[in-house]
Symmetry: D2
Subunit: 357 residues, 4 copies
């Protein structure tokens, strides 16, 4: 199941230390101008080595489009693409060849498939998300044409958290710091926490908030294709994600219904709501208000400390991670969250075109 | 998109006040003995009118199996079923015929489709979940044969919450009270809160915890078919769900990686983990430990108070709900959460059979 | 896999002698007026007992729509429907309970599933096609709104064949005889042949020709979703179908390319072709010309003669069919071919709406 | 829709004159040893320039596997692959940039997408089948492990035809001549006809027969996933295919049922049939007998003669094809037919594993 989407479908392939990471984007609308610089820009946001608080691996992650774009425009035919793996040190991983790293996918992959490409996590590596960022960056160029805007930011690192209300923050500030947090002061604290955790050889989790503005009314399908269910599925498919909520989310369960009702008003013919506890989705279908959601990311398990674990034969062994890892995945996960949101929204937009003859 | 699942696929149909609610279960393994009393038992758990804290509507919700079961066993052919709508008062809904109830699906359905069966919410009614309960009850009978056990319970109502650790509670106590909470004392408090809210003509939200025990190692697909992403999608597709988390969930983002690592141990050849912050899923694939997750449900918007809203023509109007509604959906949502979990796990189990020749 | 289609999806259920045959139509466009008499009309064309050359079983085959149509129009929600089985004589089939009828599905179903509803062929019975006819009749009402016309007719019975060129025949004559052949004289010969075969207790095969007029340009997907591949798959899924061809078909393989080229012409801005060997589809995509195709149906294997076969235990036994069967399936298969064509074309039409933003 | 299959899924991308043709194979069982020489061998059978009766284009068509195979074995992860386009003369196609070649996909692609990569047919080029041959060659290596054997051969070119009974021919002779016909004498006649047609600047059609031996009992799904419907869909998705039949096919419609019944016999516990008019499939499910089928290919429309046609603006123009083309696609289509059959059978095999718990 390396495909997501129904109309706009993205299939990815590639292991961390294989020849290339890549994918196929199928169902992209025809005739959309594609700016490849924008695709590379998103890849650069995801790229290792971009700051002192992310893994120092130096990967260029240059995308090559192999098909589906002709004279600068999408043709409606599938867009094949690859990103070659260039700075892979397989030897870094010799020590985990036969060892199951705790809280990683080593054990489950080996159990499921009977075989595992152990180099750098193989298919379970977050390098797979390169393909998502490429696909999302292309989807986004279609969405821009219909005025839909998507952004995400780091809203919590460890216990340092922004207020839940995204409207308090200016999204133009997100890229002004290496944490991707729109509040400079909080960003500094987050940066310091990540640095501290890094120095300890440890890791820390956090929350990313995503926002979708100007989403047309009517996207999403009742029952099993609810827009928030598709967003949730997509977000939970990102490595290290542990939770998803939208609108009032978990925090709203303590309220009474009367406190959270979003009243309708008619502003010169445009129906909107006076509040937006619903998170822009009612009955699984977008209602034209801002869609907002939060994704929890765990502190990843690759810590630079000795850990007792077992090997393939079930024997005890001591593991000391060597590779070059992220103390906190949040800053690099922001463009991935945006990419997944773009893919889900474009898919829902195209599917919604089939509701009427 | 009224179908969920890839191998075990459930398609549902039916509106609240139409002739019948029903569905088709396709991909059910052949040769499984089906006890229809168990199916009806689950429907009864979901049924309105079962206690003083749920809607007093008196619906029998008797399931009729139309195909796919022969001489008490599944044949591998699709199982069609219906539950007739018997106690429907369409007149209850005349007042919402042209009105958009706030925080309901009236506005989004009308906008999307240009037409809406307004009687009782039509397709957006939670009566649709009847079909899910039937399908889940049948899936569960297959899962029982391979030893998989699924249960859910109300773990929070308003701000009254159990401890997050499901292992502290005895699942055999869940059905001993009308809230479906395994702690009798807390259940009493929850019951009282719901009664109070009901008397106020208001509603209240909460959290349901789900647990899957004895899940075989290897279920779930890497990348886009991660087991928790499929569980999340399924849970978020339930009416009123606003969030999903599994394992350490949102609470774990404040921890350091070193605090949450689940160490492997070898117990006489059986590899397990000493803790289970991962929630039984690593890299998207079940690792044999208990799977546990939490689903947030909002306080639903049908309150028995006058609300200002607008009608189809965009004019202001006052709405006073009449129908018979639930002050808190949690007690009746417990069997729905279990049903969705059963469907997802059976689907993953069957799909996992295709990994090897 | 009891579902066909990607956007317009039909899922069927039901066995010949179960409680009901039925299905769910999902993805039907919203707001389409549905005339149920037209649905029943198509069911009557498929109905047993309609003439002296089909099975004398007297089945009323009354359709009940359970959902998805409100105040005479489709709502965009799934359309559930059933047709109750009323005139089923299970006792007719006691003799095949443990016997594998040759050239039927008894052996393969039993081998695949380990269990079989032997009554009247169970799921393998052509009664399953009732659900297709219902779904096709509803699809057709959407297609009529965009001017697409679909018809089929019996073009060959045994060795009595019409000319391959459908343009020689007047489709308004199809329903004027019980064979559903638009040439009265040939129809009479076909009728006589079927009667003769019936008197012999034997069966005979034939060919049905299908025609789709006014199909918009652009339906069908390159590569794996070619319009003719989808039509072929749909037609080959009909019981007793053995072959499918479109346009020049098998007959064209003897020609040279230069003989079969369809030249383009520009008629006042409308581009069309001077001939139509392509059959209205080029590169898998409709080109606006008539789509025409042929489906081969075998002489079915239920003959009223003693046949030596084996039983479930592999022992020799003599089988003498009792049931009431069709000497030739062609007349009743005509509406099924039309129904499948309508489903495929509507699905392609809706999918084609997603090509552009 | 550039994906085929449900469990074993192949997604292809690439245009004739783009950077590369490629694809992703998802759902390949884990742990299968892959011999890449066998993959290249199949590509060489499809390759242009291999004999005097095919296009003289000199394309090496070297496959590069990018993922999913580790230490010589499949890992269960998606297999990405590319074949670079090396010998492409875009200038050959300047003359068709604005012209619609008759009986090609130029007009339909332009109409559907509003844009077209005109170089060498772009996506509609038969170069796309490279990806199918790669995927088929990998599927085949899984099938070999369970003893399934697949072969195809040219059974008709123009009006020169073999007997319909595949059992009369020795499949080991197929590769002994450039037509891929297992009868040396007939092959010579076919070769001469193709040469003659080539000298005339014309093209000729034909038929390919496919055979699947040792297919396990039980593959294929009743109703919409009948094994022959899936084979038909797959074969009709090959460029230039115009018809598909299996078993008795079109020829059997003239027979009576009593003539074509395949009687069961019990050979020491193995149930088989004394004849095989059914073509190895009954009720849509394989019965253990040989599966055989025939695919009609049209004479392709690229002829080296002046043809009158129209351009993008609807104006008349004269077209004289320059490129380097095949006078008869049959010899090079044989490995494509085999590849599609391998993909369909492996998919059905894997799906059949989900029938029982």
């Amino acid at each position: 199941m390396n495909t997501i989407g129904k109309i706009f479908r993205v299939t990815t392939f590639g292991e961390s230390h294989g020849m290339a990471i890549g994918g196929v984007i199928d169902g992209m609308p025809a005739g959309i101008e594609i700016n490849l610089d924008k695709v590379q820009y998103e890849l650069n946001r995801r790229r290792p080595g971009q700051s002192s608080i992310v893994t120092p691996r130096d990967e260029k992650d240059q995308v090559k489009i192999l098909s589906g774009i002709f004279e600068g425009k999408t043709t409606g035919c599938p867009i094949g693409f690859i990103v070659e793996n260039t700075n892979q040190h397989s030897s870094d991983y010799e020590n985990i060849r036969n060892t199951f790293r705790p809280s990683h996918a080593d054990f489950t992959y080996t159990s499921k498939y009977g075989i595992r490409d152990y180099r750098g996590g193989g298919r379970s590596s977050a390098r797979e998300t390169i393909s998502r960022v490429v696909a999302g960056a292309i989807a986004r160029q279609a969405l821009e044409q219909i005025g839909i805007q998507i952004y995400a930011y780091t809203s919590q690192v460890g216990n340092i958290a922004l207020d839940n209300d995204y409207k308090k923050y200016d999204c133009s500030l997100i890229e002004t710091n290496d944490v991707r947090c729109p509040d400079a002061e909080v960003a500094k604290k987050m940066h310091n926490l990540i640095s501290e955790v890094k120095n300890d050889g440890d890791t820390i989790g956090g929350v990313i908030t995503g926002v979708i503005k100007n989403c047309p009314i009517g996207l999403g399908e009742p029952t099993f294709g609810k827009l928030h269910a598709k967003l949730g599925e997509a977000m939970l498919s990102i490595n290290a994600a542990k939770g998803f909520e939208y609108g009032m989310g978990f925090a709203g369960v303590g309220n009474r219904g009367s406190e959270l009702i979003d009243n309708f008003i008619n502003n010169d013919g445009k129906i909107s709501t006076t509040s937006n506890h619903s998170g822009g989705i009612q009955g699984g279908i977008s209602n034209g208000e801002d869609i907002y959601f939060r994704v929890a990311f765990k502190p990843v398990a690759t810590i630079l400390k000795e850990i007792e674990t077992i090997d393939k034969d079930g024997k005890s062994t001591i593991l000391k991670a060597k590779g070059r890892h992220d103390p906190c995945v949040l800053p690099r996960a922001v463009p991935i969250v945006e990419a997944m949101a773009a893919m889900v929204i474009l898919d829902a937009y195209l599917l919604n075109k089939t509701i009427h003859l």
